[in-house]
């Protein structure tokens, strides 16, 4: 019975070796590919995306340094219309260039990323946080401005190359604007003395 049944016994030997090896072998921690959630999480690639978030430049004053100017381009371009923006106005009714209300309905958002593509101020970006389960289906799944606002350091942490490119672009734009302002200031005639 050597040829017949030998494969079966070989198979048994392989699995037995694997079974005991998974307890005693040297490289067993890497061999067991289970990610023990929630203590460990599987690594996600940099380009993965789930829902949008808003970037703030200074973590100490997130609301003040928000990049978003409430231009509402993303609200108009969003295909399922999951964004709702209300511009912040001061006491006289003059618009401050930042949102007062910025709601994203997670149950509607289809994670297409169009809002990111059309934003002219690099203020809305795609997050990759997938732990968004809530205990309700309606109001609990709407994210408001405080939830959406995350600092630039967070953006660098989750998407380093993209954040570096965005920062370089913003710096280049700022330098160009500063150079233009300096050139305009130099070309301007000296101010008239007050009469």
């Amino acid at each position: 019975m050597s040829a017949f049944g030998k494969g079966l016994l070989d198979g048994l030997r392989v699995t037995a070796v694997n079974f005991f090896g998974s307890y005693f072998d040297k490289g067993r921690k890497e061999r067991l590919f289970t990610y023990q959630y929630p203590e460990e999480r599987a690594p996600i690639p940099e380009n993965s995306r789930t829902f949008p978030f808003l970037v703030a430049d200074d973590p100490n004053d997130p609301v003040g340094t928000i990049r978003c100017t409430a231009c509402k381009i993303c609200e108009v371009e969003c295909p399922p219309k999951c964004i709702y923006i209300v511009m912040d106005r001061d006491e006289k009714g003059k618009p401050r260039q930042r949102p007062k209300v910025f709601d994203i309905d997670l149950s509607v958002c289809m994670q297409c990323g169009i809002c990111v593509e059309v934003c002219p101020f690099e203020s809305i970006k795609m997050d990759n946080d997938y732990e968004k389960a809530r205990y309700g289906r309606f109001n609990e799944l709407v994210e408001h401005l405080p939830d959406l606002l995350k600092p630039n350091a967070y953006y660098h942490r989750i998407k380093p190359t993209e954040a570096a490119a965005v920062d370089a672009k913003l710096k280049a734009e700022a330098e160009k604007k500063a150079a233009k302002a300096a050139a305009a200031a130099a070309a301007k005639p000296p101010p008239k003395p007050a009469v």
Binding site: M1, F4, G5, L8, G11, L12, V14, T15, A16, N18, F19, S22, Y23, R31, L32, F33, T34, Q36
Partner: protein, 384 residues
């Protein structure tokens, strides 16, 4: 039960007989009902951990230390699931089928001696009774498939019935060998006949082949891999228990595992020496040691069955039936002849040699004859 009855009689001499008998019966039944479903729960945990480690992943490790309470969590989950019965299903038969699946397995455990003198009922026809009630579980498969009013369930049920009925024959014939040599159908006599060094029947040539035949038959009757076509996850939806959910499904699983436990216990009794082992004998300590031996052997068999499940692929249904009718059945008949030769040839070494040679030769011949059936290439008529 008789042991408990005698012990109680020694303890409480004034009590009436029927009370002592009733208490002894309750103790015996309670032991069976508590221990073997407990072993079933343990097997579910061991299977998940064992298969996980074989497959380079961890099994359950959240509920309790190393996941030991996972069966409790599973039980609670399945108890709280909604019990869906299809509207056109035959309600009465649909309800009875899981019951008919579980009860024969529990009945077969009644004649298994778990320790020295500890058998629930010492029937004269012990082994025959165990096999008789095991065959009654065929009806459950059929009832489940029929009552669901689902063509796929029925197909799965027919395949399951064909498989169980085919494998009953070599199983019973391999048990016949043991009965021939022992001369009695009672399980206690069978175990007692295996006393002595290497006295277990599995160490004799007909016993080794008989153990192999019996294990194949037991695995196939319970529907475990590699014979789990009726209920494998990737087969005909879920076979005969497609339309079952909630506790009835759990009862089917329990029935399957309990049937395999019952058959393995009978196999341990007949071939592996039951509760015999160094240190098992009369007296309280000896009885406890004998119980330990029995459960150790049973757990060893369970470990091997789980190991086999994690290793071998599934047999196709025609390969399954061919294996039963073309390999196991002739081998079991030749096994009977070999056992007869072993028993009746006056000189022991010649008897051993003749029967071992006969069995080895028949194994070789049968594998050569069946070889083509296994590795034949399928021919497809519609392609070139």
């Amino acid at each position: 039960m008789e042991t408990v009855y005698k012990w109680l009689k020694n303890l409480a001499t004034g009590a009436p007989d029927w009370a002592l008998l009733g208490v002894a019966m309750l103790v015996a039944i309670g032991f069976l009902l508590a221990v073997f479903p407990g072993v079933f729960a343990f097997i579910t945990w061991a299977e998940r951990k064992g298969l996980g480690r074989i497959q380079n992943r961890m099994g359950p490790n959240r509920v309790g230390p190393v996941g030991l309470f996972q069966p409790i969590a599973d039980g609670l989950k399945i108890l709280t699931k909604e019990d869906i019965v299809p509207r056109r299903a035959d309600g009465f038969v649909h309800f009875l089928a899981p019951v008919v699946a579980v009860v024969p397995a529990l009945l077969a455990l009644v004649v298994v001696p778990v320790g020295a003198g500890l058998v629930a009922v010492n029937l004269n026809i012990g082994i025959l009774f165990a096999f008789a009630v095991s065959t009654a579980s065929v009806l459950a498969l059929f009832m489940a498939g029929w009552a669901s009013r689902n063509k796929f369930s029925l197909l799965g049920a027919m395949r399951a019935v064909a498989q169980v009925v085919s494998y009953e024959v070599p199983t019973v014939l391999s048990a016949v060998v043991v009965l021939m040599v022992v001369g009695s159908l009672s399980t206690l006599d069978i175990v007692e006949s295996q006393r002595g060094w290497f006295g277990w029947h599995v160490f004799k040539p007909w016993g080794a082949i008989g153990f192999f035949l019996f294990t194949c038959g037991a695995l196939a009757e319970a529907g475990r891999t590699p014979f789990d076509i009726p209920e494998a996850e990737s087969e005909i939806v879920a076979g005969y228990h497609t339309e079952y959910s909630g506790f009835k499904f759990a009862l089917f699983q329990m029935g399957e595992y309990l049937a395999s436990l019952a058959m393995m216990s009978i196999g341990v009794t007949m071939f592996l020496g039951g509760y015999l082992g160094p240190g098992s004998g009369p007296g309280v300590l000896g009885t406890l040691i004998s119980m330990g031996w029995f459960f150790a052997k049973l757990l060893a068999m369970i470990a091997v069955v789980i190991w086999i499940r994690g290793t071998w692929p599934r047999l196709r249904v025609d390969q399954l039936l061919a294996f039963a009718w073309r390999f196991l059945l002739p081998l079991s008949l030749i096994n009977i002849v070999a056992a007869g030769l072993w028993h009746f040839i006056p000189s022991k070494p010649v008897g051993w040699g003749v029967s071992a040679a006969l069995l080895a030769a028949s194994c070789w011949v049968l594998t050569r004859l069946n070889g083509r059936a296994y590795i034949e290439k399928r021919s497809y008529r519609l392609t070139s």
